[in-house]
Amino acid sequence: MKKIDAIIIGAGPVGLFGVHQLGIKGLKAVVIDNLDKAGGQCIELYPDKPIYDIPAVPECTGEQLTTRLLEQIKPFKTQLFLNERVNEVRKDNENWIVTTNNKKEFIAPNIIIAGGVGSFEPRKIHLKQAEQLEEKSVFYAVRDKEKFKNKKISIFGGGDSALDWALELSKFSKITLIHRRNEFRGAQHTLMEIKKLEKAGKVSIKTPCQIESLESENDLKSITIKFDDGKTEKIPTDVILGFFGLIMKLGPIAEWGLNMNKKTIEVNPENFETNKKGIFAAGDICSYPGKLKLILSGFHEVALASVECFKRARPNEKYRFEFTTSSKTIQDRLGKK
Protein backbone atom coordinates (compact mmCIF):
# COMPACT_ATOMS: atom_id res chain seq x y z
CA MET A 1 0.00 0.00 0.00
CA LYS A 2 1.24 3.42 -0.94
CA LYS A 3 1.61 6.02 1.85
CA ILE A 4 1.33 9.64 0.76
CA ASP A 5 0.37 12.96 2.32
CA ALA A 6 -2.96 13.39 0.56
CA ILE A 7 -5.28 11.46 -1.70
CA ILE A 8 -7.15 13.66 -4.15
CA ILE A 9 -10.36 12.22 -5.55
CA GLY A 10 -11.15 13.81 -8.90
CA ALA A 11 -8.77 15.01 -11.62
CA GLY A 12 -10.80 18.07 -12.61
CA PRO A 13 -9.35 21.59 -12.40
CA VAL A 14 -9.76 21.76 -8.63
CA GLY A 15 -8.14 18.37 -8.01
CA LEU A 16 -5.21 19.29 -10.27
CA PHE A 17 -4.69 22.67 -8.61
CA GLY A 18 -4.82 20.82 -5.29
CA VAL A 19 -1.68 18.95 -6.37
CA HIS A 20 -0.02 22.34 -6.88
CA GLN A 21 -1.06 23.78 -3.54
CA LEU A 22 0.06 20.64 -1.68
CA GLY A 23 3.21 20.41 -3.79
CA ILE A 24 4.50 23.88 -3.00
CA LYS A 25 4.10 23.01 0.67
CA GLY A 26 6.25 19.93 0.12
CA LEU A 27 3.37 17.45 0.35
CA LYS A 28 3.05 14.43 -1.93
CA ALA A 29 -0.33 13.55 -3.38
CA VAL A 30 -1.94 11.06 -5.73
CA VAL A 31 -4.99 11.77 -7.85
CA ILE A 32 -7.68 9.19 -8.59
CA ASP A 33 -10.34 9.62 -11.29
CA ASN A 34 -12.97 7.41 -12.85
CA LEU A 35 -12.48 8.88 -16.33
CA ASP A 36 -9.69 7.83 -18.68
CA LYS A 37 -8.16 11.32 -18.75
CA ALA A 38 -7.61 14.33 -16.53
CA GLY A 39 -9.88 17.38 -16.74
CA GLY A 40 -13.19 16.27 -15.27
CA GLN A 41 -16.25 18.14 -16.52
CA CYS A 42 -13.99 20.57 -18.45
CA ILE A 43 -12.87 17.72 -20.69
CA GLU A 44 -15.92 15.52 -20.65
CA LEU A 45 -18.66 18.11 -21.01
CA TYR A 46 -17.17 21.18 -22.67
CA PRO A 47 -13.64 20.64 -24.05
CA ASP A 48 -14.26 23.19 -26.84
CA LYS A 49 -16.43 25.70 -25.03
CA PRO A 50 -14.69 28.89 -24.00
CA ILE A 51 -14.53 29.78 -20.31
CA TYR A 52 -14.41 33.53 -19.64
CA ASP A 53 -14.09 33.76 -15.88
CA ILE A 54 -10.69 32.39 -14.96
CA PRO A 55 -8.83 35.38 -13.43
CA ALA A 56 -6.20 36.82 -15.79
CA VAL A 57 -7.20 34.39 -18.54
CA PRO A 58 -9.74 36.29 -20.66
CA GLU A 59 -10.71 33.21 -22.62
CA CYS A 60 -9.73 29.56 -22.69
CA THR A 61 -11.43 26.26 -23.43
CA GLY A 62 -11.91 23.42 -20.98
CA GLU A 63 -9.18 21.53 -22.77
CA GLN A 64 -6.70 24.43 -22.64
CA LEU A 65 -7.38 24.97 -18.95
CA THR A 66 -6.67 21.30 -18.26
CA THR A 67 -3.48 21.29 -20.35
CA ARG A 68 -2.19 24.35 -18.50
CA LEU A 69 -2.97 22.91 -15.09
CA LEU A 70 -1.18 19.68 -16.00
CA GLU A 71 1.80 21.79 -17.10
CA GLN A 72 1.68 23.73 -13.84
CA ILE A 73 1.85 20.58 -11.70
CA LYS A 74 4.51 18.82 -13.76
CA PRO A 75 7.34 19.66 -11.30
CA PHE A 76 5.64 17.60 -8.61
CA LYS A 77 5.67 14.37 -10.67
CA THR A 78 2.32 13.36 -9.21
CA GLN A 79 0.84 10.04 -10.22
CA LEU A 80 -2.65 10.17 -11.70
CA PHE A 81 -4.60 6.96 -11.32
CA LEU A 82 -7.18 7.10 -14.11
CA ASN A 83 -10.00 4.66 -14.86
CA GLU A 84 -10.17 4.05 -11.13
CA ARG A 85 -13.21 4.73 -9.03
CA VAL A 86 -12.83 5.12 -5.28
CA ASN A 87 -15.20 2.65 -3.71
CA GLU A 88 -14.33 2.60 -0.05
CA VAL A 89 -12.83 4.88 2.56
CA ARG A 90 -11.94 3.57 6.00
CA LYS A 91 -10.10 4.89 9.02
CA ASP A 92 -6.76 3.54 10.23
CA ASN A 93 -5.74 5.46 13.38
CA GLU A 94 -4.82 8.95 12.16
CA ASN A 95 -4.89 7.87 8.51
CA TRP A 96 -7.44 7.09 5.88
CA ILE A 97 -7.30 4.08 3.59
CA VAL A 98 -8.88 4.39 0.17
CA THR A 99 -9.75 1.37 -1.98
CA THR A 100 -10.62 1.60 -5.68
CA ASN A 101 -12.83 -0.62 -7.85
CA ASN A 102 -9.63 -2.24 -9.17
CA LYS A 103 -8.57 -3.05 -5.60
CA LYS A 104 -5.77 -0.48 -5.47
CA GLU A 105 -5.15 0.84 -1.96
CA PHE A 106 -3.73 4.14 -0.77
CA ILE A 107 -3.08 5.42 2.73
CA ALA A 108 -2.79 9.07 3.78
CA PRO A 109 -3.69 11.37 6.66
CA ASN A 110 -5.70 13.51 4.24
CA ILE A 111 -8.32 13.00 1.54
CA ILE A 112 -9.47 15.87 -0.64
CA ILE A 113 -12.72 15.13 -2.45
CA ALA A 114 -12.80 17.26 -5.59
CA GLY A 115 -15.37 15.12 -7.30
CA GLY A 116 -17.54 17.70 -9.06
CA VAL A 117 -21.02 16.25 -9.28
CA GLY A 118 -19.75 12.71 -8.91
CA SER A 119 -18.28 10.18 -11.29
CA PHE A 120 -19.20 9.93 -14.93
CA GLU A 121 -20.97 6.74 -15.91
CA PRO A 122 -22.62 5.70 -19.17
CA ARG A 123 -26.36 6.22 -19.38
CA LYS A 124 -27.99 2.85 -19.82
CA ILE A 125 -31.06 1.41 -21.50
CA HIS A 126 -33.89 1.35 -18.99
CA LEU A 127 -35.32 -2.06 -19.84
CA LYS A 128 -35.11 -5.02 -17.47
CA GLN A 129 -33.85 -7.39 -20.16
CA ALA A 130 -31.12 -4.92 -21.09
CA GLU A 131 -29.91 -4.99 -17.50
CA GLN A 132 -29.84 -8.80 -17.47
CA LEU A 133 -27.91 -8.95 -20.74
CA GLU A 134 -25.39 -6.26 -19.81
CA GLU A 135 -21.81 -7.27 -20.59
CA LYS A 136 -23.20 -10.37 -22.40
CA SER A 137 -24.92 -8.78 -25.38
CA VAL A 138 -25.56 -5.22 -24.22
CA PHE A 139 -22.50 -2.96 -23.97
CA TYR A 140 -21.85 0.72 -23.33
CA ALA A 141 -18.20 0.73 -24.38
CA VAL A 142 -16.00 -1.26 -26.74
CA ARG A 143 -12.99 -2.68 -24.95
CA ASP A 144 -12.11 -5.54 -27.27
CA LYS A 145 -13.08 -5.16 -30.93
CA GLU A 146 -12.57 -8.88 -31.59
CA LYS A 147 -15.72 -9.62 -29.59
CA PHE A 148 -17.76 -7.73 -32.14
CA LYS A 149 -16.64 -9.56 -35.28
CA ASN A 150 -19.21 -11.15 -37.61
CA LYS A 151 -22.17 -10.09 -35.52
CA LYS A 152 -25.42 -8.29 -36.10
CA ILE A 153 -24.87 -5.12 -34.12
CA SER A 154 -27.44 -2.45 -33.27
CA ILE A 155 -25.74 0.80 -32.28
CA PHE A 156 -27.73 3.49 -30.46
CA GLY A 157 -26.80 7.16 -30.26
CA GLY A 158 -26.14 10.26 -32.33
CA GLY A 159 -22.74 11.41 -31.13
CA ASP A 160 -19.16 10.66 -32.13
CA SER A 161 -18.93 7.38 -30.21
CA ALA A 162 -21.94 5.96 -32.05
CA LEU A 163 -20.73 7.15 -35.45
CA ASP A 164 -17.08 6.14 -34.98
CA TRP A 165 -17.96 2.63 -33.85
CA ALA A 166 -20.59 2.20 -36.56
CA LEU A 167 -17.90 2.98 -39.12
CA GLU A 168 -15.19 0.86 -37.52
CA LEU A 169 -17.29 -2.22 -36.79
CA SER A 170 -18.96 -2.13 -40.22
CA LYS A 171 -15.66 -3.49 -41.57
CA PHE A 172 -16.56 -6.93 -40.28
CA SER A 173 -20.11 -6.84 -38.94
CA LYS A 174 -23.61 -5.90 -39.99
CA ILE A 175 -24.50 -2.57 -38.39
CA THR A 176 -27.81 -0.88 -37.71
CA LEU A 177 -27.40 2.67 -36.46
CA ILE A 178 -30.39 3.89 -34.46
CA HIS A 179 -31.00 7.40 -33.18
CA ARG A 180 -33.95 9.18 -31.62
CA ARG A 181 -33.91 12.04 -34.14
CA ASN A 182 -32.85 12.56 -37.74
CA GLU A 183 -29.87 14.78 -36.99
CA PHE A 184 -26.60 13.28 -35.73
CA ARG A 185 -24.41 15.55 -33.63
CA GLY A 186 -21.21 13.60 -34.31
CA ALA A 187 -18.57 14.65 -36.86
CA GLN A 188 -20.25 15.25 -40.20
CA HIS A 189 -17.47 13.66 -42.27
CA THR A 190 -17.91 10.40 -40.34
CA LEU A 191 -21.63 10.64 -41.01
CA MET A 192 -20.91 11.07 -44.76
CA GLU A 193 -18.82 7.89 -44.71
CA ILE A 194 -21.63 6.04 -43.00
CA LYS A 195 -24.19 7.35 -45.51
CA LYS A 196 -21.97 5.93 -48.26
CA LEU A 197 -21.97 2.57 -46.50
CA GLU A 198 -25.73 2.80 -46.20
CA LYS A 199 -26.01 3.18 -49.98
CA ALA A 200 -23.72 0.21 -50.39
CA GLY A 201 -26.03 -1.78 -48.08
CA LYS A 202 -23.43 -2.29 -45.35
CA VAL A 203 -25.02 -0.14 -42.69
CA SER A 204 -28.64 0.64 -42.14
CA ILE A 205 -29.73 3.84 -40.41
CA LYS A 206 -32.98 4.02 -38.48
CA THR A 207 -34.31 7.42 -37.29
CA PRO A 208 -36.23 8.88 -35.54
CA CYS A 209 -36.84 5.99 -33.25
CA GLN A 210 -36.10 4.50 -29.88
CA ILE A 211 -35.82 1.05 -28.39
CA GLU A 212 -39.12 -0.54 -27.43
CA SER A 213 -38.14 -4.06 -26.34
CA LEU A 214 -35.54 -6.81 -26.51
CA GLU A 215 -36.30 -10.40 -27.48
CA SER A 216 -34.05 -13.08 -26.09
CA GLU A 217 -33.84 -16.77 -25.29
CA ASN A 218 -30.68 -16.92 -23.20
CA ASP A 219 -28.94 -14.92 -25.91
CA LEU A 220 -30.23 -11.77 -27.52
CA LYS A 221 -32.22 -12.54 -30.69
CA SER A 222 -33.69 -9.26 -31.82
CA ILE A 223 -34.78 -5.83 -30.76
CA THR A 224 -37.94 -3.89 -31.53
CA ILE A 225 -37.68 -0.20 -32.22
CA LYS A 226 -40.50 2.28 -32.31
CA PHE A 227 -40.55 5.19 -34.75
CA ASP A 228 -41.95 8.61 -33.85
CA ASP A 229 -45.01 7.91 -36.01
CA GLY A 230 -45.82 4.87 -33.88
CA LYS A 231 -44.67 2.18 -36.33
CA THR A 232 -42.47 -0.56 -34.94
CA GLU A 233 -39.79 -2.69 -36.54
CA LYS A 234 -38.04 -5.84 -35.42
CA ILE A 235 -34.28 -5.97 -36.07
CA PRO A 236 -32.34 -9.23 -35.70
CA THR A 237 -29.55 -8.35 -33.27
CA ASP A 238 -26.72 -10.23 -31.52
CA VAL A 239 -25.18 -7.23 -29.81
CA ILE A 240 -26.46 -3.85 -28.66
CA LEU A 241 -24.03 -0.97 -28.24
CA GLY A 242 -25.51 2.03 -26.44
CA PHE A 243 -23.86 5.46 -26.62
CA PHE A 244 -26.35 7.72 -24.87
CA GLY A 245 -23.69 9.87 -23.27
CA LEU A 246 -22.47 10.02 -19.73
CA ILE A 247 -24.33 10.91 -16.60
CA MET A 248 -22.86 12.06 -13.33
CA LYS A 249 -23.50 9.91 -10.32
CA LEU A 250 -22.43 10.69 -6.80
CA GLY A 251 -21.85 6.97 -6.30
CA PRO A 252 -20.17 5.59 -3.17
CA ILE A 253 -19.25 9.04 -1.78
CA ALA A 254 -22.74 9.20 -0.29
CA GLU A 255 -21.94 6.20 1.90
CA TRP A 256 -18.84 7.49 3.66
CA GLY A 257 -20.70 9.02 6.61
CA LEU A 258 -20.12 12.62 5.53
CA ASN A 259 -22.72 15.27 6.27
CA MET A 260 -24.52 15.80 2.99
CA ASN A 261 -26.81 18.52 1.69
CA LYS A 262 -28.67 17.10 -1.32
CA LYS A 263 -25.82 15.92 -3.55
CA THR A 264 -23.13 18.09 -1.97
CA ILE A 265 -20.85 17.68 1.04
CA GLU A 266 -21.05 20.17 3.90
CA VAL A 267 -17.72 21.74 4.81
CA ASN A 268 -16.30 24.23 7.26
CA PRO A 269 -15.41 27.24 5.06
CA GLU A 270 -12.31 27.99 7.16
CA ASN A 271 -10.43 24.92 5.98
CA PHE A 272 -12.92 23.00 3.83
CA GLU A 273 -12.88 20.06 6.17
CA THR A 274 -15.97 17.85 6.30
CA ASN A 275 -17.43 16.43 9.51
CA LYS A 276 -14.64 13.80 9.38
CA LYS A 277 -11.18 15.00 10.45
CA GLY A 278 -8.78 14.77 7.54
CA ILE A 279 -11.44 14.51 4.83
CA PHE A 280 -11.85 17.69 2.84
CA ALA A 281 -14.14 18.67 -0.02
CA ALA A 282 -13.52 21.39 -2.59
CA GLY A 283 -15.06 22.56 -5.84
CA ASP A 284 -18.60 21.89 -7.04
CA ILE A 285 -19.09 19.03 -4.59
CA CYS A 286 -18.77 21.11 -1.41
CA SER A 287 -21.40 23.32 0.15
CA TYR A 288 -21.27 26.16 2.67
CA PRO A 289 -23.20 29.40 3.00
CA GLY A 290 -22.80 31.47 -0.17
CA LYS A 291 -21.13 28.71 -2.18
CA LEU A 292 -20.65 29.55 -5.87
CA LYS A 293 -20.02 26.71 -8.30
CA LEU A 294 -17.18 28.44 -10.11
CA ILE A 295 -13.76 27.05 -10.98
CA LEU A 296 -12.12 30.01 -9.25
CA SER A 297 -13.99 29.24 -6.01
CA GLY A 298 -12.70 25.68 -6.21
CA PHE A 299 -9.12 26.95 -6.50
CA HIS A 300 -9.55 29.03 -3.34
CA GLU A 301 -11.19 26.15 -1.48
CA VAL A 302 -8.47 23.63 -2.29
CA ALA A 303 -5.73 26.13 -1.37
CA LEU A 304 -7.21 26.52 2.09
CA ALA A 305 -7.72 22.77 2.45
CA SER A 306 -4.04 22.22 1.62
CA VAL A 307 -2.98 24.28 4.66
CA GLU A 308 -4.94 22.02 6.99
CA CYS A 309 -3.55 18.98 5.13
CA PHE A 310 -0.05 20.24 5.92
CA LYS A 311 -0.82 20.49 9.63
CA ARG A 312 -2.10 16.90 9.65
CA ALA A 313 0.69 15.47 7.51
CA ARG A 314 3.49 17.30 9.37
CA PRO A 315 2.21 17.60 12.94
CA ASN A 316 5.69 18.39 14.26
CA GLU A 317 6.43 21.21 11.83
CA LYS A 318 5.14 24.73 11.95
CA TYR A 319 3.22 25.88 8.88
CA ARG A 320 4.74 29.00 7.34
CA PHE A 321 2.78 30.94 4.77
CA GLU A 322 5.00 31.81 1.81
CA PHE A 323 4.70 33.54 -1.55
CA THR A 324 5.85 31.81 -4.73
CA THR A 325 7.50 35.09 -5.81
CA SER A 326 9.89 35.22 -2.86
CA SER A 327 10.21 31.75 -1.33
CA LYS A 328 13.41 29.92 -2.22
CA THR A 329 11.92 26.66 -0.93
CA ILE A 330 8.89 26.90 -3.17
CA GLN A 331 11.02 27.85 -6.16
CA ASP A 332 13.21 24.81 -5.51
CA ARG A 333 10.13 22.59 -5.39
CA LEU A 334 9.01 24.08 -8.69
CA GLY A 335 12.44 23.32 -10.15
CA LYS A 336 13.22 27.02 -10.70
CA LYS A 337 16.78 28.18 -10.27
Partner: protein, 106 residues
Protein backbone atom coordinates in the same frame (compact mmCIF):
# COMPACT_ATOMS: atom_id res chain seq x y z
CA UNK B 1 -44.97 36.48 -11.82
CA UNK B 2 -46.38 33.76 -14.00
CA UNK B 3 -48.04 30.51 -13.06
CA UNK B 4 -46.09 27.39 -13.96
CA UNK B 5 -47.67 23.99 -13.52
CA UNK B 6 -45.24 21.20 -12.67
CA UNK B 7 -46.63 17.70 -13.03
CA UNK B 8 -44.75 14.61 -11.83
CA UNK B 9 -44.73 11.30 -13.69
CA UNK B 10 -47.53 9.97 -11.52
CA UNK B 11 -49.74 12.87 -12.56
CA UNK B 12 -49.65 14.93 -9.33
CA UNK B 13 -49.37 18.58 -10.19
CA UNK B 14 -48.29 21.73 -8.34
CA UNK B 15 -48.84 25.27 -9.50
CA UNK B 16 -46.11 27.74 -8.59
CA UNK B 17 -45.87 31.48 -9.13
CA UNK B 18 -42.46 32.00 -10.70
CA UNK B 19 -40.83 35.39 -11.14
CA UNK B 20 -40.48 36.43 -14.77
CA UNK B 21 -36.89 36.13 -15.97
CA UNK B 22 -36.14 33.01 -13.95
CA UNK B 23 -35.94 29.68 -15.74
CA UNK B 24 -38.52 26.95 -15.28
CA UNK B 25 -35.67 24.95 -13.67
CA UNK B 26 -34.92 27.73 -11.14
CA UNK B 27 -38.63 27.99 -10.34
CA UNK B 28 -38.61 24.29 -9.51
CA UNK B 29 -35.40 24.30 -7.45
CA UNK B 30 -36.39 27.38 -5.42
CA UNK B 31 -39.77 25.85 -4.62
CA UNK B 32 -38.44 22.36 -3.94
CA UNK B 33 -40.34 20.73 -6.75
CA UNK B 34 -39.06 17.15 -6.90
CA UNK B 35 -38.05 15.53 -10.17
CA UNK B 36 -35.69 18.24 -11.43
CA UNK B 37 -32.06 17.73 -10.38
CA UNK B 38 -30.18 20.41 -12.35
CA UNK B 39 -26.77 18.97 -11.48
CA UNK B 40 -24.83 21.47 -13.60
CA UNK B 41 -26.72 24.48 -12.27
CA UNK B 42 -28.20 25.62 -15.56
CA UNK B 43 -25.24 25.62 -17.93
CA UNK B 44 -26.84 23.17 -20.39
CA UNK B 45 -24.17 20.62 -19.57
CA UNK B 46 -26.05 17.75 -17.97
CA UNK B 47 -29.68 17.08 -19.03
CA UNK B 48 -30.88 16.51 -15.46
CA UNK B 49 -33.50 19.27 -15.60
CA UNK B 50 -35.24 17.49 -18.46
CA UNK B 51 -39.00 18.05 -18.75
CA UNK B 52 -41.78 17.24 -21.19
CA UNK B 53 -43.61 20.37 -22.29
CA UNK B 54 -47.38 20.10 -22.60
CA UNK B 55 -48.29 19.81 -26.29
CA UNK B 56 -50.42 22.97 -26.18
CA UNK B 57 -47.38 24.93 -25.08
CA UNK B 58 -44.54 23.31 -26.97
CA UNK B 59 -44.76 25.56 -30.03
CA UNK B 60 -45.35 28.69 -27.97
CA UNK B 61 -41.98 28.65 -26.23
CA UNK B 62 -38.84 29.79 -28.08
CA UNK B 63 -37.26 26.90 -30.00
CA UNK B 64 -34.34 24.97 -28.51
CA UNK B 65 -30.82 25.79 -29.71
CA UNK B 66 -28.81 22.99 -31.32
CA UNK B 67 -26.71 22.58 -28.19
CA UNK B 68 -29.83 21.98 -26.13
CA UNK B 69 -31.20 19.39 -28.56
CA UNK B 70 -27.81 17.65 -28.54
CA UNK B 71 -27.86 17.56 -24.78
CA UNK B 72 -31.40 16.15 -24.75
CA UNK B 73 -29.99 13.07 -26.54
CA UNK B 74 -28.42 12.28 -23.18
CA UNK B 75 -31.59 12.71 -21.14
CA UNK B 76 -33.59 9.88 -19.61
CA UNK B 77 -36.28 8.82 -22.12
CA UNK B 78 -36.34 11.85 -24.37
CA UNK B 79 -39.51 12.48 -26.38
CA UNK B 80 -40.54 14.91 -29.10
CA UNK B 81 -41.71 17.43 -26.52
CA UNK B 82 -38.55 17.19 -24.41
CA UNK B 83 -36.81 20.37 -23.26
CA UNK B 84 -34.24 21.33 -20.68
CA UNK B 85 -36.11 23.43 -18.14
CA UNK B 86 -33.02 25.60 -17.52
CA UNK B 87 -33.48 26.96 -21.04
CA UNK B 88 -37.14 27.96 -20.71
CA UNK B 89 -37.31 31.50 -19.35
CA UNK B 90 -40.52 32.45 -17.60
CA UNK B 91 -42.42 35.45 -18.99
CA UNK B 92 -46.01 36.72 -19.14
CA UNK B 93 -46.40 34.83 -22.41
CA UNK B 94 -45.81 31.58 -20.57
CA UNK B 95 -48.36 32.19 -17.81
CA UNK B 96 -50.04 28.83 -17.30
CA UNK B 97 -47.23 26.76 -18.86
CA UNK B 98 -47.47 23.09 -17.98
CA UNK B 99 -44.42 20.81 -17.84
CA UNK B 100 -44.11 17.19 -16.71
CA UNK B 101 -41.05 15.71 -15.10
CA UNK B 102 -39.79 12.29 -16.26
CA UNK B 103 -39.78 9.25 -14.00
CA UNK B 104 -36.16 10.01 -13.19
CA UNK B 105 -33.34 12.25 -14.35
CA UNK B 106 -30.35 9.90 -14.20
Amino acid sequence: MSKIIYKDFKGNSKTIEVENGLSVMEGAIQNEIPGIDADCGGSMACATCHVYVDDKWFDKIPKAEDAEVDMIDMAFEPKKNSRLSCQIIVSDDLDGLQVSTPEKQT
